[in-house]
Symmetry: none
Subunit: 219 residues, 2 copies
DNA sequence: TTTAAATTTCATAAATTTAAGATATTATAT
DNA sequence: ATATAATATCTTAAATTTATGAAATTTAAA
């Protein structure tokens, strides 16, 4: 899942990207509208975050052009109270709007909402994608065949990236709270899942005496 | 559920408190950063609402200090357009942000969200952080790999900063009350833990004939 | 029903962590 | 300064925990 962050302030770009990358998005940056258009011409994005006020080419003009070359959801950033811009923006087909200063968490939530609208219900972390509708997992675009338990297990991990999951938590999530599963059983499933995860094989870390954790670090 | 409202304007404090109390929160007030720190030192809060711009000590400085002495979620208030403060703030570990003028309802909603999600996840002392959710310890942002006993031991220390822990207390906390551990065994664990604590290596003080103490003085 | 696939269990291997003894070092009191 | 007691460190063996391959069982499909 790739997003493009367009803002003339590097600090803002960095903060947005940091948060987004933590959620498993791959981020590109552009510092003005012209650069943004160049990026859009050569890359495919799932969402664009765009500041309205920028030098060279302002956001609204850029959006107009982008909407002509690609069908991609756009979330706008703007200073508070720029009512006129806002209305203009929706006319141009902006999908959502966030006023500065904004909470990164809120922004991430909106990105998720917007991409869900266009892509259906996807869980994406790095190059892994779970499409719940299709009940299908892909890594780098290639379909990975998983059994049902493996699918649930992976989903659990991707919904809890970087969070340590105790064996009990895993059992509860997959089999229900009253199921009595042997610890070795979980290990076995972990093993099978790992064996199918290719380059993400080592992303499932063992935490001794606790359980497992799916780690994702932006590159 | 107790919250602390920090703002130099009495009117704002009163409004926030009134709404919060309507929702069942108990409210304390402080009119500047210094008073806020005093409050935090002697009380336990579930959330702090803090204005950024204040006389005597500004909000960001206060937050820095508060985060060192207590693990409490903080929501910031700020005038519009204080971009830099905002980004700084998230680096300091601010949990959410509301710009003035704000709707009391929105603020309450954010308090609820914040108290829900940050209850007992992080233990922070100086530059050491234990993230229980991630089951991860960081010092100055770098992950420190600890074994399970070392993890428990450190947690015990950080939960009892500046308090002398007898060997018995340590044994009881880590192995349970009926375990008979050799004194040398504890020394060994202390040694291993120290060796991983970097600049905090000497924060674990030996108290002869008694046990150990993790000392921390804010700078 | 038969067959194949998926799940669970089991046994063993491999890896890591822990405990405790021996020895060295340090602190304290005389 | 020296003796003594307490703690630190090193080493190694034991214990614990996880990984893995294979067998047994269950489930689902043909």
């Amino acid at each position: 899942m790739r997003i493009l962050v367009v803002d003339d302030e590097e600090l803002i770009r960095d903060v947005v990207c940091e948060y987004a990358e933590n959620e498993g998005y791959k981020c590109d940056q552009a510092e003005d509208g012209i650069k943004a258009i160049e990026k859009v011409e050569t890359n495919k994005y799932d969402c664009i975050i765009m500041d309205i006020m920028m030098p060279n080419m302002d956001g609204l003009t850029a959006i107009k052009e982008i909407k002509e070359i690609a069908n991609v959801p756009i979330i706008c950033l703007s200073a508070r109270g720029e009512e006129f811009d806002k209305l203009q923006g929706f006319k141009l087909g902006i999908d959502d709007y966030v006023t500065k200063p904004f909470s990164p968490k809120e922004l991430i939530a909106r990105i998720k909402a917007v991409t869900k609208r266009t892509n259906g219900d996807l869980i994406t972390v790095g190059d892994i994608t779970i499409d719940e509708l299709k009940h299908e997992v892909t890594i780098d675009g290639d379909v990975v065949e998983l059994t049902h338990t493996q699918f649930c297990l992976l989903k659990l991990f991707l919904q809890n990236v970087n969070i340590a999951l105790s064996r009990n938590a895993i059992i509860e999530a997959i089999w229900g709270y009253d199921y009595e599963a042997d610890d070795r059983t979980i290990d076995a499933h972990i093993k099978l899942l790992r064996s199918k995860l290719g380059k993400y094989r080592n992303s499932i870390k063992t935490i001794r005496k606790v359980g497992y954790k799916f780690v994702y670090e932006k590159k």
